[in-house]
């Protein structure tokens, strides 16, 4: 089951890495992608604060960025 989940998640990665010809945009088609809210890390401050909360309250950390040490809260 776990292996299947991992496999399913990696399929898009493999498709992406092999460079499907239909993916991507030309530089003049980046009007929407250029918006702040389309950034993969649109609210870094919110993310930093959330990471700190969940790092100290749950057994998982990182994933989006580094999940390493940093405080004695866990």
């Amino acid at each position: 089951m776990k292996k299947n989940i991992k496999l399913v998640l990696f399929i898009p990665l493999i498709i992406g890495a092999t460079g499907c010809a239909n993916l991507g945009v030309e530089p003049w088609e980046r009007d929407l992608l250029a918006k702040d809210e389309m950034s993969l890390n649109a609210s870094p401050i919110d993310v930093a604060l959330d990471d700190h909360i969940y790092f100290s309250k749950e057994a998982s950390s990182g994933g989006k960025g580094f999940g390493g040490g940093g405080c004695g809260c866990n």
């Binding site: 998640l9 992406g16 401050i45 919110d46 309250k57 998982s60 990182g62 994933g63 989006k64 040490g69």
Partner: protein, 445 residues
């Protein structure tokens, strides 16, 4: 000299910015004045600032306040300097790991100085938690060759009883018209823990009795193995970002994290109960392995509808403590246009998290049974489901500065991973839910 002048300008800007940030955090009493200063210095400045204050409060337990001030300077040649200051303070009660009992229980504080009572039927909480932390981060990012971007940073965090030092590095490679990016990063942390009262001897009994007796200090020291311990964390992060089309971008990460050293929580204990009555016979200090290897995969997608933006991410984590977890996080940004006289948006947020228990997690131990190699009753490594629902409201204020408010509700529901509960333990709540409120104000300029 040119460099010197530049440094001086930067200092002036920071001063102006700090005035603004203080105003933003303390209220708005001085905003007008701060804005004047900001305009004066804005001519040569490409600094961007974010300031935020977060309040976190659990019902009957911990409350925390955290302030962040972030300054980012983008230079003409795309070099970026990012400086971040974080200050937080925490106070309140935290679960000790012991089980509730049908009678009053007495526990010794982690410092060994003093004791406290927990009423019958109540979850044992140690209310001595209090800490203040200051954290500094500096990050430098720059292009090093066409399509290659490198980044390096340092981290220092200091609490009363904890010191954390860290470095990180990252290299990113763009290709296919910058529609695809591979990145590889590493980070290293060295942490030193100097807990109040020292490091307890694993599985030694918590000393209970007359703390004013002449032999108390000696007896307490017997339960300790030192005053401090360390741990190191090495993280490796591999990422791939792909623009799908004009409306969609995705990211996939794999991370590997290796933690070595002192991973036990010196403040946590485990109740040793009678196998038939369920009554506590002893409370012993917990013990965890001295290494942990965590891995995770993370996927995120953003999709731009006509005007709204959907942000969905999923993380699957697994480690050699046999903890696995699923995290689903979604945000949906809805622009409100100028309906309130200024451009604004709302953003609902939903997060779901579920974890399985560590192999050595035990809510209690049975008296007379052989001690396991490791055991912890810390609910944070037990089976648990949590969810967060929240709403953010953001608006553009004068000069295009962003002001936003966020209010969220967080609930943790620890669950029974299949432990038989003898006697009295069936009458008490071994897996209490925890409710918390998260409130945040952010001002970016």
């Amino acid at each position: 000299m040119k460099t010197k002048t530049k440094t001086k300008t930067e200092k002036t800007n920071i001063k102006a910015a700090l005035t603004l940030a203080t105003a933003a955090l303390l209220g708005t009493s001085n905003l007008a004045q701060a804005n004047t200063v900001s305009t004066d210095s804005a001519q040569e400045s490409t600094w961007e600032f974010d300031s935020a204050f977060l309040f976190y409060s659990e019902v009957d337990r911990v409350s925390a306040g955290e302030a962040i001030f972030n300054a980012k300077k983008t230079f003409a040649n795309d070099e970026i300097l990012n400086l971040k200051l974080t200050v937080d303070a925490l106070t309140g009660a935290s679960a000790s790991g012991a089980v509730a009992q049908p009678e009053v229980q007495t526990f010794t504080r982690p410092s060994g100085k003093g004791q406290y009572d927990i009423a019958a039927g109540e979850v044992p909480l140690d209310d001595t938690f209090q800490d203040t932390r200051v954290q500094l981060n500096a990050q430098w990012t720059q292009p090093i060759a066409p399509n290659y971007t490198a980044s390096g940073g340092v981290h220092i965090s200091k609490e009363y009883d904890y010191l954390s030092l860290g470095i990180n590095g990252n290299l990113a490679f763009d290709f296919d018209r910058k529609n695809s990016t591979f990145s590889a990063g590493f980070s290293f942390f060295q942490d030193t823990f100097t807990p109040e009262g020292g490091i307890p001897k694993p599985f030694s009994s918590m000393l209970i009795g007359d703390s004013s007796s002449p032999t108390w200090d000696n007896d307490f020291t017997e339960t300790r193995i030192g005053s401090e311990d360390t741990k190191t964390t090495i993280d490796i992060l591999l990422g791939f970002t792909q623009v799908i089309n004009r409306r969609m971008i995705t990211q996939f990460n794999y991370s590997y994290s290796m933690v070595d050293g002192y991973l036990t929580d010196p403040f946590k204990i485990i109740s040793v109960v009678n196998g038939s009555t369920g009554l506590t016979q002893d409370n012993i200090y917990e013990s965890r392995p001295d290494s942990r290897v965590k891995q995770s995969i993370y996927a995120q997608s953003l999709y731009h509808f006509d005007s709204t933006v959907l942000d969905v991410s999923y993380r699957y984590m697994w480690d050699d403590w046999e903890i696995t977890s699923h995290t689903l996080d979604t945000r949906f940004r809805i622009p409100l246009g100028d309906s309130f006289g200024t451009e604004s948006y709302i953003q609902p947020h939903f997060r779901f998290y579920q974890q399985s228990a560590a192999e050595f997690y035990q809510p209690f131990l049975i008296d007379g049974d052989a001690l396991p190699t490791y055991a912890s009753a810390d609910y944070r490594i037990g089976e648990m489901t949590t969810f967060t629902v929240g709403l953010k409201y953001g608006l553009l204020v004068n000069n295009g500065h962003d002001l936003s408010f966020r209010l969220e509700y967080y609930r943790q529901t620890p669950t029974d991973a299949g432990f038989d509960e003898p006697g009295a333990l069936q009458e008490v709540d071994l897996y209490p839910t925890i409710d918390a409120i998260i409130a945040q104000i952010t001002y970016s300029f």
